[in-house]
Amino acid sequence: MASDQSILNGLRERNPDAWKWLVDHFEGSLFRFFVCKHRDYNLAQEQTAETFAQLIRSLPNMKGSHDQLQAFVFSIARHVQLRHWRRPRVTGCDPEMVESVADPRPSPATQLADREQLERVLTVISQFESPVREILIFRFVEGFTLHEIVAAADLPLGTVKSHIHRGIARLRKLMADKEMQT
């Protein structure tokens, strides 16, 4: 792809090469976003695929330049996630159980050197309600700017700042509690 604008034009024209670039660029961060929410790798993979399918239909109507692409992708991901919770679930699922029983293959987390640390962080971050959890992930994991968070979370700037401020305070408290336990 030659330039950012040509990528965006290619996506709008549904050029397969542009869409291949989009999948390569966002699949990791989208998968991570859903894992932090559900702690279920199969569901995260399913929702990542659903997000790409939704993007194909909605991205041609996207307003703005290439700078807003990341925020737009994650705003669609948020809608996919919300729609999932509106749907009735077939069974109640315990994330730990799903991870150990539903998929016999080794999960990506097992490939990590420090699996315990990952589990600890996922346990802590899952205690946050939406949209604070998403905002903390956007800010500290994906490295979004404040304005990108505003666009992705569809919230006013003051609200985003307030969520970050309170989220950090609570996260520090939870981190201290975890250290006390260990």
Partner: protein, 162 residues
């Protein structure tokens, strides 16, 4: 005046030291999509693109487009429309009811200070020696500030005593 512990967005410093939080959450960056995941996503995208190219959404002119409206809104709008039709019809019926009373009488709803009849007799076409003469009677309902509401003209043959 704000209490000390209340958050002020204007004083929020996005570049404040949050290294501990970043380091704590940085382990999440190591979460990677499984190797077969990328194949699944590429296949999903390819299938969607093929579907869109094979059956593109046809351009529908605006007068053929439809919109989804929730059922409660439809019911509320229908009830409102029926009520407004009923109200308009009843007020029209009230207006078209005939006025009871003679032209010289005050109408039941009229204010005596504002309305008055103007009976007027004008001899016309009368000639000396004739037994009858034609009298024109004009009457009307006049409301001060608005003007005449109704006028009536009668041509009457009256017996004339010489």
């Amino acid at each position: 005046m704000k209490p000390h512990n209340e958050f002020d967005p204007d004083r929020f410093d996005p570049d404040a030291d949050q290294t501990d939080v970043s380091e704590f959450l940085s382990v999440l960056r190591q979460v990677k999509s499984p190797p077969e995941g990328k194949t699944v996503y590429q296949a999903t995208v390819a299938a969607e693109l093929i579907q869109l190219f094979e059956s593109p959404v046809p351009h529908v002119p605006w007068w053929k487009r439809s919109v989804r409206v929730p059922l409660p809104v439809v019911i509320a709008a229908s009830a409102l429309m029926l009520m407004s039709i009923w109200a308009a019809q009843s007020s029209r019926n009230r207006d078209s009811e005939p006025q009871v009373g003679l032209p010289g009488e005050k109408s039941p709803g009229s204010d005596s200070n504002k309305t008055h009849d103007l009976p007027k007799e004008t001899p016309a076409n009368s000639a000396p020696g004739e037994e009858f003469r034609m009298v024109i009677q004009n009457s009307g309902l006049y409301v001060r500030g608005i003007g005449p509401l109704s006028t009536e003209t009668r041509y009457v043959l009256q017996e004339f005593d010489q």
